[in-house]
Amino acid sequence: MDRKSSFEAEALPHLDAVYRFALRLSGSPADAEDLVQETFLRAFRAWEQYTPGTRAKSWLFTICRNIFLRQRERSVRHDEIVLKAAGSARKAGTESTEDPLFASASVDDPEGNFFRELVDDSILAAIDELPDEFRDAVLLSDLEGLSYAEIAQVLDIPVGTVKSRLFRGRRQLQEKLYAYAVDYGYIKPRAKHG
């Protein structure tokens, strides 16, 4: 198979996934399209570096994220990024890592039946509201089906960090979705004692 045919067979089937990833990163369809175009162009030029048999999807995600970060470095002021990162680190530090359930849900709906009632758009909106580092981990794992090792490669972090970001991100997301389910009457919180 020539270069173009093998690229079309292995890389192009991931176009939708890369577009969605680019859309989440950049936040606008126009920027996402530019990002996708640049990603596939670079991937095509570097096709020799791709190891056949490994997942092209995570390789493309890695390229996409690298381009995005470099573009952002150029356009965003450094102190803004530092402030944002400090804010989310502070927030993350206050959470317990003891068990995956949080107190209110384990009392009102221990088996999580309310998740079945939630509207897809509200789930996607709640994911978007997560701090970037948690959002990316949850997105790559739960929505795109990447393994921990693949996520570690895409986000350029150790596997242990992938696990803790997934844990915290999922916890925050569960709390958001629980609050949403209460607002919309899918669960009725039990009255507090006293």
Binding site: F44, I123, D142
Partner: protein, 84 residues
Amino acid sequence: MDRTTCREAVARLYEYLDGELSPEAAEAVRRHFEICKQCYPQLCFCQAFQEALRRAARGLPCAPEHLRARLAALLRDEAARHDA
């Protein structure tokens, strides 16, 4: 005999659901959840959560047609340049 403690099982819950454990470790965790009344709801809770996310993922947008077409043209040009 089940040697996995509740603490261990819950700590490995996501690794279990994400398919990140070895077959032996996964089997040990699975057996614990099967017989433990306290831990079982936590498994259900996280499964329901992940199913909801996967369901929501099906509603995510696809790449627009004009992007697909533009990309095809771009690759054609690039391949021609590469072969030349």
